[in-house]
Symmetry: C2
Subunit: 173 residues, 2 copies
Amino acid sequence: MLYDLTVVQFSKMLNNLNNILDKAEAFAAFKKVDMAVLLNSRLAADQFNLIRQIQIACDTAKVGVARLTGQLDTMPKHDDTEMTLEELRQRIASVIEYLNGFSEADFAHAATIHVSQPRWAGKYLTGYEFAIEHAIPNLYFHITTAYAILRHNGVEVGKKDYLGAMPYKVPVI
Amino acid sequence: MLYDLTVVQFSKMLNNLNNILDKAEAFAAFKKVDMAVLLNSRLAADQFNLIRQIQIACDTAKVGVARLTGQLDTMPKHDDTEMTLEELRQRIASVIEYLNGFSEADFAHAATIHVSQPRWAGKYLTGYEFAIEHAIPNLYFHITTAYAILRHNGVEVGKKDYLGAMPYKVPVI
């Protein structure tokens, strides 16, 4: 289940973010504003801008899955140097490709693995706790904040763009 | 696991929202602005204001758990009439109390139950799909948007307020 919650759902959300950025690009073209204006927008002076929100969303997915599977050494490297929409798309694509390389089997010990970060000063969370209380809420936080920055600037995005398609089923009668 | 992801984690997030609202109240008092100004703020003219974001966050938690457990008839009723911080706090408390009434056993069939909504025109999702692709992303969306509205208005909230406390453990040496 942690596989579905992270690899599968994080990929879906990064694809949704791609679609949201497509709408932002169309909006910028229509309004004749430089896309860089949107990419450098933020909701508060001391908050990260859209570029950084996208970078952190990508890292939350990438590092989250790497930590849960104990495969930190397989992560693609990203230097946080993106300045254009095209560079951000490449980063998103790189993370989706990385996620796609994992299978459910890689998550055999994910729930019980000890997850730590340098700033946690030696303390740890179990993978189960880390996924549910840290990685998942963080991923949605940064995707929603990216969405909110664009929404605030007038880009016509809605909840469906954020959630993406649902696997609706028709009842068998 | 769906119990932890919804009942436990949604309660935690609603408590975090309470703490964020405490900071908003202190900010309003310090700035000598009416709390109603913050409660009626929004990030875009055609987006829901803070009151509505809080109401929807509450409903996402309440209805989500009711649907997953097949207990729609046990839900407390809320008429979306809240206008003050105190009324919103009561609503949040009412939902947390409702969530606390569930146990893991109530989720025995949650993964496979068919979940539908009037607007889905007869189609359904399995409880597993509904939780992972709908209820959970929605809950975080509305909590983050509430946070973003306050952040945009200058309230000093940070990621820790959103995530809440982590159950860090010290390694046994």
